[in-house]
């Protein structure tokens, strides 16, 4: 019972104060495993709060007791950096991801993702599930990709916008949508979808999960966890989930 | 025809009721808390008896042994509840029409305007029940029950909140229902006079049991001796024949084998039977024929029994021919007049004390 009373927001001077990580929801599986590994290695706890990057950024802006912020895109990290709420020196690219086109597991459409490929035709009267185009990072990348491939106008009417990648994935997995544009990590974790193809890296801005120490953090363990994220053990977990590990 | 024989236990109260009335108005009479309203609830189908049967005009409404229970709407029994239970969201007119709507159109025998007129609720038709006075509400409730043209009517003290004058206007309406449309009625009341006037069967309840049952004359006369009943509740019922009239003084002459009774006003054609209710406290006994008195009516008879009750005594007068009267006098008077069992007496009845509107022209089995 007393555990819940842990004063997470009080000055983190005591040794066993957990490191509080604010992380984009899509990193949950991997980060939970990393935190568990860290705990076994060091005996210290990392408490990870998952939500959408935007909410987390605004909470940090409002003085949330976060030590580390892991964003799903660069924009929200920039937003905080501009407000001088993160320690710019600690910021780096943690993970990379790829954008892929998927279809339900029982479908069998072959498509090569090239400039002007006939996604609209392949979709027919079906829907293409993506994350919300201008708010959710996945959606933004998808829009860029489709635009640079010159097919956005033809498929725009067929897009079904989910509020997060996971939902878009779901729509495909349940067979509601004919295609979906999601991250490679998601596609890998969901057995009920099939990979149709990967979008060329050049077709969209790089998918990067940046990480940084929060300016207000005074938990001495926080930098250690931050560096643990680069450790071999962590890297293994991340790559196992399908993330790319980015140099620096 | 209504017949019932039921038992019910609610809380600590045990009700056991049985009566049968082949034709006419049954009066349920009893103290507060004696089980009158519960009985009506059983008849209306709002409660289920623990055991027993209820039959109306040969149709079994309830038979616990055989598992029969007819639902209230299929019973078509109109009820005037003790508190009016008007529908608050409907106007008076809509309340009145409510039952009518569900009555098969060929059974809509009772005239809307006539009922509204008699009950004095014509002006209230567009109003909502919350804006009515207590008595107005009760009159609307009576109208509602009448207008649904039921096969049986249950009245739970419908006239309690009304003045005597209104009562005397409404009672004939209730009675007409019975005589014109042959609707049997079960009527709950505290007022003996009300009961005696309209009923052909009186059931007296006491603590959930039938304590007395019979015709009004038989039941209400001997009632006074029992604890809890006042001597003012004692009435006698006499059946007389119209035999003439005094047109100059606007009086009707009623013949009884034992004498003549004068009634104010004109009451029916010669030869018709008239039932008269006489309160025991209204009768003056005389050892000889009356003279010099304002009393016009006297009946002769013999004293049957004398039942003493403190300073007073209830004297049963066995009238010549047929019938009996109960009179209450002081013991002192009896001794002074030397009256005892077997004495010849004259029972004097004031015309003004007889309510001519309570005298029923009776086709009943009396």
């Amino acid at each position: 019972a007393g555990k819940a009373e842990t004063p997470a927001a009080s000055p983190g001077t005591e040794k066993d104060t957990p490191v509080i990580v604010f992380a984009a929801a899509s990193t949950k599986t991997a980060l939970d495993a990393v935190a568990a590994a860290w705990k076994t290695n060091t005996g210290k706890t990392a408490s990870i709060a998952y939500a959408s990057s935007g909410i987390l950024a605004k909470q940090i802006e409002q003085g949330a007791p976060a030590d580390i912020f892991i964003s799903a895109d660069l924009k929200w990290m920039d937003y905080l950096q501009k407000a001088k709420l993160i320690r710019a020196g600690t910021r780096r690219k943690l993970l990379g991801n790829k954008l892929v086109l998927i279809e339900p597991g029982d479908a069998d459409v072959k498509l090569e993702i090239t400039k002007g490929f006939d996604l609209a035709g392949a979709a027919g009267d079906g829907k293409i599930a993506v994350c919300t185009l201008d708010s959710c990072p996945g959606g933004i990348y998808a829009k860029e990709a489709l635009e640079s491939l010159g097919v956005f106008a033809s498929v725009e009417a067929k897009l079904a916008l989910a509020d997060n990648i996971r939902n878009a994935l779901n729509l495909v997995a349940r067979g509601e949508a004919k295609f979906g544009i999601v991250y490679a990590t998601d596609a890998k974790a969901e057995p009920k979808v099939k990979l149709v193809g990967t979008f060329p890296e050049a077709s969209h801005s790089p998918i990067i999960y940046p990480v940084a120490l929060v300016e207000a953090s005074n938990n001495p363990d926080a930098p250690f966890f931050l560096s643990y994220l680069k450790s071999q053990a962590a890297t293994k977990i991340f790559t196992g989930q399908g993330f790319d590990i980015l140099p620096k | 025809m209504i017949e019932l024989d039921v038992a019910l236990k609610v809380g600590t109260f045990n009700l056991e009721m049985a009566f049968r009335n082949d034709d006419g108005i049954t009066a349920l009479f009893g103290h507060s808390g004696s089980g009158k309203s519960l009985t009506l609830n059983l008849i209306a189908g709002l409660m289920r008896p623990d055991r027993g049967t209820i039959t109306l005009d040969g149709r079994v409404l309830v038979d616990r042994a055989r598992g029969i229970f007819v639902s209230p709407p299929r019973r078509r029994i109109g009820v005037v509840f003790q508190d009016s239970h008007l529908f608050p969201h409907l106007t008076v007119r809509q309340n009145l029409w409510f039952g009518r709507w569900f009555a098969p159109s060929r059974e809509r025998a009772i005239n809307f305007d006539a009922v509204a007129e008699t009950l004095g609720i014509g002006k209230l038709l567009p109003r909502y029940p919350a804006k009515l006075s207590g008595g107005e509400r009760q009159r609307v409730a009576i109208g509602r029950a009448l207008l649904c043209c039921p096969r049986l009517l249950l009245f739970d003290e419908p006239l309690a909140a009304l003045d005597m004058e209104r009562k005397l206007e409404i009672l004939p309406l209730i009675e007409r229902l019975h005589t014109e449309f042959a609707v049997p009625i079960v009527y709950v009341s505290h007022a003996t006079e009300e009961v005696a006037r309209i009923a052909n069967l009186v059931v007296v309840l006491n603590a959930g049991r039938v304590k007395a049952i019979g015709r009004p004359g038989e039941v209400l006369g001997p009632l006074g001796g029992e604890s809890g009943w006042s001597r003012f509740d004692r009435v006698s019922v006499l059946t007389t024949k119209v035999c003439g009239a005094n047109t100059a003084y606007d009086l009707t002459e009623l013949k009884h084998p034992s004498g003549t009774i004068w009634l104010a006003g004109r009451a029916g054609p010669p030869g018709g039977q008239i039932r008269i209710i006489v309160r025991a406290t209204d009768i003056v006994l005389s050892a000889g024929p009356p003279h010099d008195l304002s009393v016009r009516s006297s009946l002769s008879g013999q004293i049957g029994s004398i039942e003493k009750d403190g300073p007073l005594a209830v004297v049963e007068v066995i009238l010549e021919g047929e019938g009996r009267l109960y009179a209450i006098t002081t013991r002192h008077a009896l001794d002074e007049l030397g009256l005892d069992r077997g004495s010849r007496v004259f029972a004097l009845i004031k015309t003004s004390a007889l309510d001519e509107r309570q005298a029923a022209v009776t086709p009943l089995s009396f």
Binding site: S52, S135, A160 | L46, F87, P88, H89, F102, Y128, A130
Partner: protein, 231 residues
């Protein structure tokens, strides 16, 4: 408010359509379930009661997900519905279903309270006057429960205006088809600098619900006056 984009106007119009449809379509079910819970005794009553409350207890995403599983094109009932021509997924009708489901517990509770507070003796009186169960229900119980029915409808309508979690999960967010004010607002809150737009749309949806509220209060006050013996 004149600076609303055409897309936003579409979202507003759609929200109104969806909220109205959700409220009206769930009304008969809500009334039935509320009445059953208030007046009847039947086996499984507690289960029904629990089921009605589910959308309140479960996070909207879960509700949306369950709807997807049941009513989606490939869902258990969805496949059947599709075979008779009723497609809900990615349609505004599906959004209405999601909103109706989310508003259902609120609607039922309000109605149930009103049904429970009706004096049973009035229903009994109607029975003795020859009204069968159905007539008694429509002529007596239903009008007397009007305050609760109105309150339930308003709650459901307001909830439908604010709902997006279950909706977006079930039917996604297709501009012009299923993008309501609420999901548009949500999108705005997810981009840096979107606050102003989010606020603008929030004000619109508040205004709509205030109008609905005001209308319902006026209707109710009128009914109340009749029932009051004095004010």
């Amino acid at each position: 408010m004149t600076d609303l984009s055409p897309a936003e106007w579409t979202a507003i119009w759609l929200s109104l359509k969806i909220a109205t449809a959700a409220t009206i379509a769930s009304l008969p079910f809500g009334i039935l379930v509320a009445y059953a819970l208030a007046r009847w005794h039947f086996p499984g009553k507690m289960l029904l009661n629990g089921a009605v409350h589910l959308p309140l207890v479960m996070p909207p995403v879960v509700t949306g997900f369950i709807l997807l599983i049941l009513l989606g094109r490939k869902g258990v009932f969805g496949a059947f519905l599709a075979s008779i021509g009723i497609v809900l997924s990615f349609r505004w009708t599906g959004a209405a279903v999601a909103c109706a489901v989310m508003g259902f517990p609120l609607m039922v509770r309000a109605m149930r309270l009103s049904f429970e507070s009706i004096d049973r003796r009035l229903e009994q009186a109607a029975g003795t006057l020859g009204a069968n169960r159905a007539s008694t229900f429509f002529l007596i119980s239903l009008p007397l429960a009007a305050p609760g029915i109105l309150a339930g409808a308003i709650l459901s309508f307001a909830k439908a205006l604010g709902e997006f979690g279950a909706t977006i999960t079930f039917v996604s967010n297709i501009p012009g088809e299923t993008q309501t004010i609420a999901s548009a607002i949500y999108s705005y809150t997810q981009v840096p600098g979107g606050d102003a737009s989010a606020l603008r749309l929030t004000v619109v949806s508040i205004a709509i619900s205030l109008v609905a509220l005001l209308a319902s209060e006026i209707v109710q006050q009128r009914a109340e006056k009749r029932l009051a013996s004095f004010e």
